[in-house]
Amino acid sequence: MFITFALITLLGALGMLLQKNVIMAGLCMVATFFGVAGLFVLLANPVAAALQIIVYTGAILVLVLFVIMMLNSHEEEKAQAPRPIQRWVSLALVAALAFGSVKLVLASSGLKALGESGAAVPQAMTLQKVGTALFADHLLGFEVAGFLLLAAMIGAVALTKRNL
């Protein structure tokens, strides 16, 4: 199951990068998000999986695709002057990031504990637990995020409406 969802995620991400057609790239991204949702389910967190699908694939990507269709430019624009060095720099950066993250995971204390005492059966996440965590442990962060979103919403309305 893990391999299936990981493959969906990775192939979707690769497809998104390599597709020249913007709409196809968007749909590949949908596949990626779907795979990530599956991985969340495997991590005993079905709430995050449902929210991932509701928020990212159900709302955000629909709006992104919507705007792409409105603009009516479905092909990726060619670069005005090709700069091959960009590719090499990005490749080096990706390699460094991958190496660093793998090293971090392998060196973490959690992995050592897992090797010594074995995996505990995880408790499935429920909406109640998410709510408690948000409102009891992370209240300030939650309120700040809410405030930020409200400000962004008002800003968007103010930018698009010329005469308020």
Binding site: N21, I23, M24, L27, V30, A44, N45, P46, V47, A49, A50, L51, I53, I54, T57, G58, A59, V62, L63, L65, F66, M69, M70, A124, M125, T126, L127, Q128
Partner: protein, 353 residues
């Protein structure tokens, strides 16, 4: 049950899972097919016509034109499968599946009858057992995925009418989803849980304790939003004969069109099942405290089919909305109503009710 399972070399749990998958998918699909006939006969009844009554089983038994479904199916299978020259072929093929699969999947979490114990094992009458952690979030998530069927079908046809239809429909679906979610959240709040089985057992067997009585405002919002979500008249902005021909499925024919049409009716079934579960006590039988399993299934089916009929009824009696009226209704009426409902129930709960 155990004997049958051991005859097929399966454990009872796996056997029951297979049986449930067959019941749910075959049931929803065949009900959706039957509902195309109900729609045509119903519209004829409402408009004082006769409707399809010519198709006969083996050329002999008319049975109210029910053979029309089989005739339609056979015709769709043998029609030429056309793909427009300038269409994006891969997506054009993919779109009917993108529409049809979420439409069928949405039903999986809904309990269509009372759980029962047999041979020391509990059998749940829902594809996803209670306590799966997704609960009512699952149909909302799958409902969100349904937009892609319309959007991809519209864009891949490479037809201006199709794109117009698909874009209006997806805009409407996304806007109405907000009001819908807020209405569902107020049910989560008063129930204290978000699993459909919890929602049903919290409502009890007395009709005046059902959520329709407790949250009439929420019901109105949810019901209206369901019409936008299923793209049914009066909110059918994916189509619109007088403006954009058949909208997102203009270029579709043969079995691909049939899948798109079946997807619409499967959505209708899931929507009516959701209404029955959230607001009308699901499989609870009015005034019967501990119904038998068959009675509970019958009660659920009756409620669900009643609402499926209401969808047909409203389609043929209420005139269509204009696009700006639809958006106005969604953002300026349904969303505030839904928020008011949420805040009212939060206030009541804080007062200790």
């Amino acid at each position: 049950m155990d004997k049958l399972a051991s005859m097929l070399h399966m454990t009872p749990a796996i056997f029951w899972m297979v049986v449930k998958v067959v019941i749910v998918f075959a049931g929803v699909m065949s009900l959706a097919a039957v509902w195309t006939w109900v729609e045509r006969r119903g519209s004829a009844m409402i408009q004082d016509r006769i409707g399809p009554n010519r198709a006969r089983l083996f050329g002999r038994w008319p049975i109210l034109g029910l053979a029309q479904i089989a005739a339609d199916g056979i015709k769709f299978f043998f029609k030429e499968d056309l793909v427009p020259t300038d269409a994006n072929k891969r997506l054009f093929w993919l779109a009917p599946f993108l529409a049809f699969v979420p439409a069928l999947m949405g039903f999986a979490v809904i309990p269509f009858g009372k759980s029962f114990v047999s041979g020391g094992q509990t059998y749940h009458l829902a594809l996803l057992d209670p306590g799966n952690g997704m609960g009512m979030l699952y149909p909302l998530a799958i409902g969100g995925m349904a937009v892609y069927g319309v959007l991809v079908a519209a864009w891949s046809s490479n037809n201006k009418w199709s794109i117009l239809g698909g874009m209006r429909a997806s805009a409407a679906m996304v806007s109405y989803e907000i009001g819908l979610s807020l209405a569902v959240i107020s049910i989560f709040m008063t129930t204290g849980g978000y699993d459909p089985s919890e929602v049903i057992s919290a409502q009890g067997h007395l009709p005046w304790a059902w959520n329709i009585v407790r949250q009439p405002l929420g019901f109105i919002v949810f019901f209206t939003c369901m019409f936008a979500e299923t793209n049914r008249l009066p909110f059918d902005f994916a189509e619109g004969e007088s403006e954009i021909v058949a909208g997102f499925n203009t270029e579709y024919g043969s079995m691909k069109y049939s899948l798109l049409a079946l997807a619409e009716y499967s959505h209708l079934m899931t929507a009516s099942a959701l209404i029955a579960t959230l607001y009308f006590g699901g499989w609870q039988v009015p005034f019967v405290k501990d119904p038998t399993v068959m009675l509970s299934v019958a009660s659920f089916l009756l409620k669900m089919l009643f609402f499926a009929w209401v969808f047909v009824w409203i389609r043929w009696t209420v005139p269509r909305f204009r696009y700006d009226q639809l958006m106005h209704l969604g953002w300026k009426v349904m969303l505030p109503l839904s928020m008011a409902n949420l805040i009212f129930h939060a206030w009541r709960m804080s007062q200790g009710h």
